[in-house]
């Protein structure tokens, strides 16, 4: 009791140094907690990206590549899946539904996905949540487009607006499908997944845009087909980029996966999204473990700063210790005083750090959501967080043993002699 208040008063007397020390610890704690929060948010967001899909099928490449372009809109397919192969799977008796996807075009940096209305019905995220419409409805007309929440928000589109899609997926594209403008038919609710950054059109629309293109080049002016003329053509695609499969029986998933991977007429690759997500996370997870280690070292540096501050103060406080001894303080009181000081500094640092973390999260939340699609829920501290924070305080107490031991030795040798 008495010793704790003494420790507090002593710290208060040196409040400039103490505050700096506390602040250094707080910043390191904020970093640690922030990384931990981001990490779990990223992991959850990651696992939540796709669900309800049993298999994703594309042309043969690597499982991660297929997952990245079909779900995360990152990278490109190296080859397509032919329409007959797709039809073969779609009509298989064990298959409940299929959703084709066709990628390759973009609009101002956002990717365009050609699909069927079944996509909105079957694709699930965040453990089974279905896409919902903030406004409008799924595409109906050939030139209808459904926007993800970020696309609509960042580009300021509303229902009925006209959108011109560019050929290719660069941010700046010179070839535009400006002869066939689209109309915004629907805007999706925010999902916190890559859906938010995608424009959805019908599979036929993708074909229509490219109907007068030859080997990746737009036809010369005389041979072009205008928007309405394109409607008259057969718009069944020759190929699609990939497709998603839902099975009648979950037990048949592996059988179907094997059948597709061993399909002789075309090199196909079927992946189970959950399995591929896990192996992707294992890959990405290294980076986040590294971040966590860096954050832990920053906390350690903060505590070392505290140790330095206390150790430097010891010499000028020998007098103080001698006075305390003369009024009956035992060496163990002096020891406790210094350990308590370290504990107090760390505790205050941790508390300030937690406050700082939530302040930063509150400020950073909309930015992270809007720019990176990382959704960080403002939840309280988890048991894990509290365990980490207690660990930091305990570590500080243990580090406090160093100056405490030195002060203890000093008081024993100084006795009541007051050194100035």
């Amino acid at each position: 009791m008495g010793v704790l208040t003494l420790a507090w008063r002593s710290l208060w007397n040196r409040r400039t140094t103490a505050l700096l020390t506390i602040f250094a610890i707080a910043v390191s704690i904020a970093l640690l907690l922030g990384v931990e929060k981001m990490r779990s948010a990223a992991r959850d967001g990651f696992a939540n990206t796709v669900s309800g899909v049993d298999l994703i099928v594309g042309s043969r490449s690597g499982p991660l590549n297929l997952l990245l372009y079909s779900v995360f809109r990152v990278g490109d397919a190296t080859a397509n899946v032919t329409w007959p192969s797709y039809q073969l799977v779609a009509k298989h008796p064990d298959v409940a539904w299929t959703v084709p996807i066709s990628l390759g075009d973009s609009h101002r940096g956002f990717r365009v996905l050609g699909t069927t209305p079944a996509y909105f019905e079957h694709y699930r995220f965040a453990g089974g949540r279905q896409m919902e419409f903030m406004a409008g409805k799924p595409f109906d007309d050939l030139y209808d487009v459904v926007l993800g929440a970020d696309v609509a928000e960042q580009l300021g589109y509303q229902l009925g607006d006209s959108v011109v899609i560019a050929h290719g997926i660069g941010n700046v594209s010179f070839a535009k499908h400006d002869d066939k403008p689209f109309r915004v038919a629907g805007v999706l609710e925010r999902t916190g997944t890559p859906i938010d950054r995608t424009l959805h059109v019908s599979l036929q629309a993708i074909t229509a845009m490219h109907v007068d293109w030859q080997s990746g080049m737009q036809a010369p002016p005389g041979q072009r087909l205008d928007a309405d003329a394109a409607r008259e053509r057969d718009l069944t695609p020759d190929s699609i980029t990939a497709f998603m499969v839902g099975m009648q029986e979950k037990a048949a998933i592996f059988q179907m996966q094997r059948a597709l991977n061993e399909y002789r007429k075309e090199p196909l690759l079927a992946i189970i999204p959950g399995v591929a997500l896990k192996s992707l996370w294992d890959l990405v997870g290294i980076a986040d473990k590294a971040l966590m280690i860096v954050a832990a070292f920053v906390v350690f540096a903060g505590l070392l700063g505290m140790l330095t501050a206390i150790l430097t103060s010891l010499n000028e406080r020998r007098r103080e210790m001698a006075i305390l001894r003369s009024v009956g303080a035992q060496p163990r009181h002096v020891f406790t005083l210094l350990v308590a000081e370290a504990g107090l500094l760390a505790l205050l640092g941790v508390l300030l750090g937690v406050a700082l973390t939530y302040l930063l999260l509150l400020i950073g939340k909309p930015i992270l959501e809007a720019r990176f699609g990382i959704f960080i829920p403002l939840t309280g501290l988890t048991g894990y967080d509290i365990a980490i924070l207690s660990g930091v305080v305990v570590a500080a107490l243990i580090m406090g043993f160093v100056p405490a031991w030195r002060a203890y030795r000093n008081t024993l040798s100084d006795g009541l002699t007051i050194r100035v």
Binding site: E320, I323, G328, L416, T417
Partner: protein
């Protein structure tokens, strides 16, 4: 019988390990309630003697009895408690904890020794602190809750005296408490300290090199003559 003497040293010898003898006192008795002037210039073994009295140092030979208790028979922590309970110290300067107020500094012994506050019998520690400060001429209310760093050195020494006296310890040990004071402050300090020791019936051991103060005490002892280790070397 032993309790008649507040301090009793017998055949005491002390040296740091591997160093020549610092202190050798054949006999020293200070009666309870006596005020003693101990003349001790630097190098006379003064610090060593105070360390022995405070139980911070233990002699290689002989016995140190304070209030009838042989200090060497106590464990280190028991000696700390004993010191806190029975002895009040006043040092040359920088007696006070800089981050505590005047009142808190005076009340400090009560934090470590329950006996010091128990001996107050009915008065709160805070009230006794105020009484002592008033008796030592620091009664002004606005002074009591000030940081000690705002006081003059003379005032600081009086606060230190009040702290040493809090809870009526039987023995007060003052180590050159007036050497940093000017003549008038020195006289005033000594007068108040002696008066308060008499009224509390505390034994006072006052160490100083300034012999002019000696007549105000019951007895004066020359440490240079007492300490054979120094006397023989010279």
């Amino acid at each position: 019988m032993a309790s008649a003497n507040a301090v009793e040293l017998q055949g005491v010898e002390f040296a740091w390990p591997g160093k020549p003898l610092l202190l050798a006192i054949a006999e020293l008795r200070i009666a309870a309630g006596e005020t003693v002037f101990l003349r001790g210039p630097s190098g006379s073994g003064k610090s060593t003697l105070l360390g022995l009295l405070g139980g911070v140092l233990t002699p290689q030979r002989g016995t140190v009895r304070v209030l009838g208790t042989e200090l060497a028979s106590l464990s280190a922590s028991a000696r700390d408690c004993f010191r806190g309970e029975h002895i009040g110290f006043i040092f040359q300067m920088f007696n006070l904890i800089p981050y505590l107020t005047v009142r808190e500094n005076v009340m400090l012994p009560a934090r470590f020794s329950a006996a010091r506050s128990a001996r107050l019998a009915g008065i709160t520690v805070a009230a006794e602190a105020e009484r002592l400060l008033a008796a030592l001429g620091l009664g002004a209310a606005q002074l009591i809750d000030r940081p000690v760093t705002e006081l003059s050195i003379g005032q600081q020494q009086r606060v230190a005296a009040a702290r040493a006296l809090l809870g009526r310890p039987e023995l007060i040990v003052a180590d050159e408490p007036t050497s940093a004071l000017d003549h008038d402050a020195r006289e005033a300090f000594l007068r108040l300290l002696l008066a308060e020791c008499k009224s509390l019936r505390s034994t006072l051991v006052f160490v100083s090199h300034d012999s002019s103060l000696a007549p105000q005490f019951d007895r004066a002892i020359d440490l240079l003559a007492l300490n054979r280790a120094v006397a023989e070397a010279a």
